[in-house]
């Protein structure tokens, strides 16, 4: 625990140092990044140890704030969620030292480093805190510091807009959490988590947690801030937000479900439903995007959906008394939290390299980057394969666990109870296929083929500080893929805590899963070996034959222009057309006219349907109604004093009556 407190101090020192050296060139960067690196190095060891089964540690101190106490605890669940926080934030800090250099002179770098340290510290406190007031304060600091990071480039109109949407969405979510904690603490009169008792109204509390934490996690239809905020933020901040910050929503949901005691079956149904809709709609919207970072943001929605599916299957398993289903469902969901942190962090950092080097996020303006940025391309490919859930990488391991849990449930459960399991199987299969389509599009159009614009033509590889973090994450993706069995077995204490099942039962279920996963990894290893063998065989066979290079075969037409290549939009068009009912893609067509048409164009855009059909009408209606109150606002001090006097008078009368 003391190591974690030192880590928090280090983040504080980093934040203050960055401010203190605001005008001293690189000193602010060194302080800011140094604070994060030292803090993460201190924190990771206790987090790992407790997650792997060492006894929990806690610290409790009195606090002057009403109902507040400084109550921190490190248990396996907290430890598990802290691991990706520390890993990702340290790597993002290294990345940021180089990435932010481009802004030196135009902007002060002290502010982003200050808020970055604050963000990391607040995430750690959110995950450790066991008191409602402390939790909500850290939650708020997390929202605000990330808001200031998102609006780093506040000279752009779109960035200010994105920050605004994020701020509003965060606070609507927090409002639900406020009610949740008040209700939880009402019975015992204390907001410490260990005194909470939720004997009555657990269903209402679950819904409050689902909405409040779901807003942060990005469940559809509460996800609207994600695709706005992630592209606007600097790339290392997008990586941290998408990889770990939205996971605090999942953490909160799991924590509250643990506090609420035995789950009810309809929670599982709801979670499966949310998971399915978030997964499928998330990946479909991702397919329709033209902006690389926006595409990745929608994939976060999709992966949060997969996590929700795992939680739902696990909950249903608990309710039906099937420990194997429960254990594998929760293990799959939680492992996917870690895996998504690794590959999504990687993808955002690699996308940041692309943006840094080409100054464009528009997929259709890029192309041929693999030749110009070979290292970035290679790590992006590993991330793309991992997020598509392909063996032998880590994404497959966690999806495999969820598949296994739902197949087990589908085989054993009777009647209607097996429906969510079957829906999960079909949903995961569809999501997997669509994700593969989306990432072949993203990688294929951005990195392969010929460059589609000047910017892409002149792209260059970025420096080591911006490649190394991604390479480390890619290594982790491969490692978890190959050592999946040991990772899954090591999750026993965590799963035992989350499901409330006894350790031997959990270990037994996990070991059957680990047996399958070991064979998955062996098959994956064999695959890599065979592929290498074939490649060597081909090289030997071709070594003494004629091997020539030529133009790409284009039906004898040897002057293809680069603009004649397929684009991302055309690649995704068959799928976006098939699912047009959900996407409502808009087309702006200028059709060719006359015998010698001069000008023709086609532009498509896919606005977020939730934004378009739910929130925009809702908020404009609220805005319109609030206009009625405008006459009250006259700008004269006397009038405001009158309002105060009238209010006091009314309160007095009410008190007397």
């Amino acid at each position: 625990m003391s190591a974690l407190l030192i880590a928090l101090l280090s983040f504080g020192a980093g934040a203050m140092g960055a401010l203190a050296f605001a005008n001293r060139g690189r000193a602010a960067t060194i302080c800011g990044a140094g604070g994060i690196l030292i803090g993460c190095a201190c924190g990771i060891i206790p987090a790992l140890r407790v997650a792997l089964g060492e006894p929990s540690q806690s610290i409790r101190m009195a606090w002057d704030v009403p109902y507040g106490s400084l109550f921190l605890e490190l248990d396996p669940l907290s430890g598990f969620f802290l691991i990706p926080v520390f890993v990702l934030c340290a790597l993002a800090a290294i990345y940021g030292t180089d990435y932010l250099e481009a802004y030196r002179g135009r902007k002060t770098l002290a502010a982003p480093w200050f808020f970055f340290n604050l963000l990391v510290a607040s995430m750690v406190v959110v995950i450790l805190s066991r008191n409602g007031v402390l939790f909500l304060m850290a939650w708020e600091v997390m929202a605000l510091s990330s808001f200031f990071l998102v609006t780093f480039e506040d000279e752009k109109e779109s960035t200010r807009q994105a920050g605004w949407v994020y701020l509003v969405a965060s606070h609507i979510g927090t409002a639900f959490l406020l009610v949740l904690f008040i209700l939880l603490g009402r019975a015992s009169g204390s907001l410490d988590f260990d005194r909470f008792s939720a004997s009555s109204g657990a269903g209402l509390l679950f819904v409050l947690a689902l909405v409040g934490f779901g807003t942060k996690a990005g469940f559809i239809p509460l996800h609207v801030w994600l695709p706005e905020a992630h592209p606007a933020a600097p790339s290392h901040v997008s990586a941290v937000m998408s990889a770990v910050m939205i996971k605090t929503g999942i953490y909160g949901l799991v924590r509250v479900m643990m506090l609420l005691g035995a789950p009810q079956a309809w929670w599982g149904w709801v979670l499966c439903g949310i998971g399915l809709s978030s997964g499928v709609i998330g990946v479909l919207l991702a397919l329709a995007q033209h902006d690389l970072k926006r595409l990745l943001a929608y994939h976060s929605v999709e992966n949060i959906g997969i996590i929700a599916l795992g939680l739902g299957v696990g909950t249903l398993g608990l309710c039906a008394g099937l420990p194997a289903v429960a254990v594998m469902g929760f293990a799959g969901a939680l492992l996917h939290v870690l895996n998504h942190a690794l590959f999504k962090g990687l993808l955002f950092l690699a996308a940041g390299n692309v943006v840094h080097s080409t100054h464009s996020r528009e997929i259709d303006h890029l192309g041929g980057l693999l030749r110009r940025m070979p290292r970035t391309g290679a790590i992006f490919l590993i991330g793309a394969a991992a997020i598509s859930g392909l063996p032998p990488l880590n994404g497959f391991i966690s999806e495999f666990l969820i598949y296994l849990a739902s197949f087990k449930g589908a085989v054993t459960l009777e009647g209607a109870n097996s429906v969510p399991m079957l829906a999960t199987i079909a949903g995961l299969a569809l999501i997997g296929g669509l994700a593969a389509a989306c990432f072949t599009k993203a990688f294929g159009i951005v990195f392969l083929g010929e460059p589609r614009s000047e910017h892409a033509e002149q792209a260059h590889e970025v420096g080591l500080a911006m490649v190394m973090p991604g390479a480390v994450l890619a290594g982790a993706c491969i490692l978890i893929g190959l050592l999946g069995a040991s990772v899954v077995s090591a999750m026993a204490p965590l799963i035992s805590e989350v499901t409330g099942l006894s350790a031997p039962i959990v270990r037994a279920s996990l070991s059957t899963a680990a047996h399958s996963i070991a064979l998955v990894s062996i098959t994956g290893g064999a695959l890599a070996g065979l592929a290498t063998l074939f490649a060597i065989g081909r090289a030997i066979a071709l070594s003494n034959r004629s091997v020539s290079t030529n133009l790409t075969w284009d039906c004898g037409y040897a002057e293809p222009s680069r603009r004649m290549q397929y684009t991302a939009s055309s690649f995704a068009q068959p799928l976006t057309d098939t699912f047009d009912l959900m996407l409502q893609t808009r087309r702006h067509v200028i059709a060719p006219q006359g015998l010698f048409p001069k000008e023709a164009s086609l532009a498509t855009e896919t606005p977020d349907p939730c934004q378009e059909y739910i929130y925009r009408p809702l908020f404009s209606a609220i805005g319109r109604d609030l206009l009625l109150l405008r006459p009250l606002q006259q700008g004269q001090v006397q009038l405001y004093i009158l309002y105060i006097a009238v209010t006091l008078l009314l309160l007095l009368l009410w008190q007397l009556a």
Partner: protein, 291 residues
């Protein structure tokens, strides 16, 4: 694994006979493979190492998937609970790299094929999984070996409609994944309508041989799943059962040949509907076994 290319030979011969021709010899696919392996190669200037990775990863993934598949009375090399998921995702891995190799050439033709490939496979995957889930539900097991091994005549007597629907759904997946009519026409090379053949336009020599052999293995793989359900006869004699399964595979090839001779390729939009129909069929199969 050695017999896989023969299936294509049988399909071609069936089509030839149906068209009143003599047709190529049954071993022609082998001759093609041998010839390709002995040739040199031409690569496009646009391509990178991703293009060269496509065929090797594709073939390696197919061989690994074959190792997880039982055939006749012979179990898989390493059966485990959930290996059907692994098989499906190995096919997805092969497809992922094939599609990237196609995009690597920068050719609109190949990208068009790639785009259709990912579209149809994304829709075929739920059908495949639900079809196998219906089977898992009936047999109560989660590995392909025990699942396919426990389909028996008694089970057909009991749940013929569900099994029939599963076979129908898997049959559509078989045709779509292997790029056969009515989803794709394997005999045309430069039509705007093709899928698989257009993706491999720029591959040559040993690379193309690997792709062709991997395609043959894929057909064998998906065919073997169907045949294992459709030929539920367990004699106890493994040689006899193996022979029976091989005969079943050839019968399937003949059926594919007859389908190809008797109907045309569907319009692209219709293909989507066909695949969604396959999902519905496997859903129905599941509904039948739920009762």
């Amino acid at each position: 694994m050695m017999l896989a290319p023969l299936i294509q030979g049988v399909i071609n011969r069936t089509k030839a006979i149906a068209a009143g021709r003599v047709g190529q010899p049954l071993v022609q696919p082998y001759r093609d493979l041998i010839k390709l392996v002995r040739k040199g190669a031409v690569y496009s200037r646009t391509t990178t190492w991703v293009f060269r990775m496509g065929p090797v990863v594709g073939l390696a993934a197919m061989i690994c998937a074959m190792a997880l598949l039982p055939f006749g009375a012979f179990p898989a090399l390493a059966p485990f609970a959930g290996d059907l998921v692994m098989v499906a995702y190995l096919l997805a891995l092969a497809r992922f790299f094939m599609v990237l190799a196609a995009l690597d050439t920068g050719s609109s033709f190949e990208a068009m094929g790639a785009s259709r490939e990912v579209t149809f496979s994304a829709l075929a995957e739920p059908a495949f999984f639900l079809g196998l889930a219906a089977l898992a539900r009936q047999t109560g097991t989660l590995s392909l070996t025990s699942m396919l091994g426990s389909v028996s005549i008694a089970m057909w007597m009991r749940a013929a409609p569900a099994l029939g629907l599963s076979i129908a759904a898997l049959g559509v997946v078989f045709l779509a994944e292997n790029a056969r009519i009515p989803v794709d026409d394997p005999t045309t090379h430069l039509e705007l309508t093709m899928i698989h053949e257009v993706m491999v336009l720029d591959h040559s020599g040993p690379d193309f041989a690997m792709i062709q052999y991997a395609a043959a293995l894929k057909m064998w793989l998906l065919g073997a799943v169907i045949i294992a359900i459709a030929v539920p006869w367990h004699s106890g004699n493994s040689l006899l059962e193996g022979g029976c399964a091989i005969a079943g595979m050839f019968a399937l090839a003949v059926v594919v040949g007859i389908i190809e001779s008797s109907m045309a390729r569907l319009r692209m939009l219709r293909v989507t509907q066909l695949l969604i129909a396959a999902v519905v069929l496997s859903g129905l199969a599941l509904a039948l076994v739920q009762r």
